[in-house]
């Protein structure tokens, strides 16, 4: 177990309960997708796992030390005044790594997110470690954000709808890249999404959440090798799982309504 939420509840003053009771246990190296409609507490659950918030009731058990947990947000969330390289070096520098060493590791991490996708040489992230966020496309900025999350070699990687702002082609490329990177470092990943097919493609376990307040509505194990082989999206089992999860999701929405 690398992190666990044990019957946690989160109340926000004035807005009532956002989450819970909700339980989730994470094993090292596994990828869990949290899927559900807006306002079902997915992002709240993620913040609890990151230790950025404490539950109102219940227990959050976090085994990662500082710097062993990384978060990628919905937007790239880069510092506009710093280069891609300096953005990626930030977590190391905040932890006291000397600047030059931090930058060298940042360049390595950037090379990794680039190498993970052949399409990147074409869009030219090569040599763009000195570029400012404003000069990067949405997909490239997201890769820089991913490099920043990976530079600390995290044991737990939390992705909060990282593809929400990207086009279909970019999100597919990034989904493959994240899997390739996962195969190397084997962090536990929690992945928040609205998209059923993306969730099945990325995760080994899929948790459907229902809103008002957020709870587990259904849980599905997803078989098959990871990283996913080409053509995984058109297999029979992929289709069946997608149908089941869509059904679960529809049910969860109905309960809420």
């Amino acid at each position: 177990m690398i992190a666990a939420l044990d019957a946690v509840e989160v109340d926000y003053p004035g807005r009532g309960r956002a989450l819970g009771p909700f339980s989730l246990s994470l094993e090292p190296g596994e990828t869990v997708a949290l899927i559900g409609p807006s306002g079902c507490g997915k992002s709240t659950a993620l913040r609890l796992l990151a230790g950025l918030e404490a539950p109102t009731r219940g227990r959050a058990v976090l085994t990662s030390a500082k710097g062993e947990t990384s978060v990628v947000f919905q937007a790239a969330t880069l510092m506009p005044w710093a280069t891609a390289e300096d953005n990626v070096a930030l977590p190391l520098e905040l932890a006291g790594t000397p600047r030059e060493q931090a930058r060298a590791r940042a360049r390595e991490a950037l090379a990794k997110v680039r190498l993970a996708g052949a399409s990147l040489d074409r869009v030219g992230l090569a040599g763009s470690h000195k570029a400012r966020p404003a000069q990067l496309s949405g997909g490239m900025a997201m890769r820089v954000s991913l490099a920043r999350a990976l530079v600390t070699r995290p044991r737990l990687l939390l992705l909060d709808e990282p593809f929400a702002a990207l086009d279909e082609i970019t999100r597919r490329a990034l989904a493959d890249d994240i899997q390739t990177l996962w195969a190397e470092l084997k962090p536990a990943i929690v992945f928040v999404t609205h998209n059923v097919e993306e969730a099945i493609y990325m995760a080994g376990r899929l948790v459907v959440m229902s809103p008002g307040p957020g709870r587990v509505a259904a849980e599905t194990r997803i078989e098959g090798p990871r990283p996913r082989p080409p053509g995984f999206r058109v297999t029979q089992s992929f289709r069946e799982t997608a149908e089941k999860v869509s059904h679960d999701l529809a049910l969860a929405m109905e309960q809420a309504a």
């Binding site: 950025l52 978060v71 969330t77 710093a82 280069t83 977590p91 400012r132 404003a134 600390t152």
Partner: protein
């Protein structure tokens, strides 16, 4: 091409206005004490150039000193107040009160505090009060403007307070702080002139003194010349600060 046009456009407009003004004065035989034509004003400016430039420098230097003082005090106060909402709610009404109080209302007392022999100190102090608010307000807004997700990231990686200030909040605030200084620079000149009207100028005879002197002697063309110098000075300072702001922002977005 479009850049050239944007530089030419205001010049052409000013030329048209001056031309119409000149023509109207001549055609209608407007008396010089009522409204002198631009040619007379230009002549007065040329004749009195040394005195006007000297006075312009006096006003400008007082305004710049006031701007420096206002900047230092406003930035220091914003840094102290920014981390705490309680502190801000305590300080903000006072800052607003300072801003909405017309300086002519406090000028007489400022003269007494500065010492009757040093009206220029009163002028600097009063101009600094006027220039304080936009810098303070801009810095305070800017220090709170950092991306909340970046704030969370700094939480996640256990950033110290100093790291958060220097690596996140101050850089995020830079555009707001620059904007505040730009507004404050113009206000400092207006403040210095208004304060000089009320407080007098002692040995440092600024443009306000020239305007009053010329008006009292019914040298209306000279009065207009002094006002024109004041306007040109304001526009020039604004352009200078604006250029500085742009250069710094370019580096800010493309630093290192």
């Amino acid at each position: 091409m479009s850049r050239l046009l944007s530089v030419l456009a205001p010049i052409v407009l000013i030329g048209l206005i001056l031309g119409a003004w000149e023509t109207a004065c001549r055609a209608l035989n407007v008396p010089a004490y009522f409204l002198p034509p631009p040619s007379a004003i230009a002549e007065a400016a040329a004749t009195n150039a040394p005195a006007l430039l000297h006075s312009a420098w006096n006003t400008l230097s007082m305004a710049l000193v006031a701007l420096l003082i206002a900047s230092a005090v406003a930035m220091a106060l914003a840094l102290i107040v920014a981390p705490s909402v309680l502190m801000e709610s305590a300080v903000r009404p006072l800052a607003v009160a300072l801003q909405v109080t017309p300086i002519v209302a406090v000028a007489p007392q400022a003269v007494i505090w500065a010492g009757l022999d040093h009206p220029e100190r009163a002028v600097v102090g009063l101009a600094a009060i006027v220039a304080f608010f936009p810098i303070f307000s801009g810095a305070l807004t800017g220090l709170r403007s950092a991306d909340p997700d970046l704030e969370r990231l700094f939480d996640l990686y256990g950033a110290t307070r100093a790291q958060r200030l220097f690596r996140l909040r101050l850089p995020s605030a830079a555009p707001y702080i620059l904007e505040g200084h730009k507004v404050a620079a113009g206000l400092a000149i207006v403040g210095a002139v208004v304060a000089e009207f009320v407080a007098g100028s002692g040995s440092a005879q600024g443009l306000a003194w020239r305007i009053l002197e010329a008006a009292n002697r019914l040298q209306i063309a000279k009065e207009f010349a002094a006002v024109a110098v004041l306007g040109i000075m304001g526009v020039a300072l604004h352009a200078l600060v604006h250029a500085g702001e742009r250069a710094i922002l370019l580096r800010w977005r493309g630093r290192r």
